[in-house]
Amino acid sequence: MSQISDFLGKSATENVKNALERARSVEDYHALLSLTKQRALERAALVDSGQITGRLAGVPFVVKDNFLAFGAPSTASSKMLEGFDAPLQATAVEKLEAEGAICIGKANLDAFAHGGSTENSAFGATKNAHDQTRVAGGSSGGSAVVTALDVVPFALGTDTGGSIRQPASFNGVVGIKPTYGAVSRYGVVAMASSTDTIGCFATTADDANLVMEIMAGRDTRDMTTLPDFWLNSPELNKKKIGLIKDFMTDDVDSEVRKQTLKYADKLRSLGYQIEEIDLPMSKYSLAMYYIIVPAEISSNLARYDGVRYGRRAEGVKTLAELYGRSRDEGFVTENKRRIMIGSFVLSSGFFDAYYMQAQKARTLLINEFKQAFEKYDALIGPVAPTPAFKLGENTADPVKMYLADIMTVPASLAGLPALSLPAGVSSDGLPIGVQLIGSYQSDRALLELASKVEAL
């Protein structure tokens, strides 16, 4: 797989043409919803003539289609936003463009990023880069697959409960979910505002580090962004890493556990002590997540009403009918499930038992993490309980699908940085990733550690 450095110092136009050609040759994976050919070639000409320079000059990339970006519609893989021509670009995209990077296309996702397999896309599922009968993972499945198939050296994703880490694991690439607040979410379709993060896929930890460093920082258009901390990341000087025992039970595929232990051995060889650690609250995390996140989704998706933008149902007589029918037509079933669960946990009579209880449980989970990071530099565990599952295997049972997120949601609820790193392959040749969870703002140090492991 290629790296960012392979594209630097070359003709941007050639880089873009090659990436577009490569994208066409892997069309049957259905990883991309659109190509931004015309705009990409225009930008490439500006780079080649020296009018745009920067650390990513002429490097092609792909955005998940829930980022607003010019050159093609921004759909969030939904009928609601089908054909939506964004009037602005996400801050993350603007920052990359300012460094000369060139967006060549938009990647498939579960509609509105609700899902863990990309099968909830309104425009059809993406296939796994290593086995076309299996899922790409999700929700950022398309971005993971184009990186793994070498269309581009990096791609953007969003991670609310594992949507970067799990597809990175399923496709054998590096994925980072940064500290909550690291990267501006301006111009990105909102899902759950207390856990939504912007991150990326890359083929090496160093590349991911560079892309994240460029995107990170305060944005006055997103008041939840933290002052730029990327280069002031705390050092990992405790030389101890905790292996999360609760993630290594018999419920987790034995090959996944094996690869996790193998990666832990590599950390040992770099001078880190590995100790087992209990994270008892982790078993409640998925329940917390599927209360808090739907609650926030029900609120964030209230804006899609068929009035100001997006899909509008035809032949309706009243405003109430316009809302109801437009939303029914514009959302896939999983969107409706989550919105309705959100309405349920927030409704009178249930609010204290579900929503409030989950937010209190979240405090207990955060306290457990805080305690762990007093002793450890980072925590290690699997990303997902299994390698990529078969297309259609989990679509009939939403809870079974949600269980794929069980080891990624804890870091999301706590706002911690977490990486998904290629650890090895299963006996079937399917990639298996390992997860490193760090303390707040230790993103850069975690990636540097991953880079050292890559060099072994």
Binding site: L88, Y290, V307, K317, T318, E321, I341
Partner: protein, 95 residues
Amino acid sequence: MSKISNQDVQRLANLSGLQLADDEADGLRQDLDKIVEYINILGKLDTDGVEPTYQVTGLENIWRDDEIKQDLSYQQLLSLAPESAENQVKVPQVL
């Protein structure tokens, strides 16, 4: 024994601004039933005296000057609306 009834589904759809097709409502009832059963595990947890966490950054109100910035024109925004007339977004009858 189902805990989420058909009436519950209709009430939640109503709260959610969704007008569900009949064939979808029953599937959603079954799904919601399973999901609620799963999240009920949290009821077992003792959270007496624990403060809830709504956001993790600890950031508080951040003020800025109340200056008009025109990133987007009203024409651009209006052009996104499915229907508009006389510089206004058009909707069907409200009452």
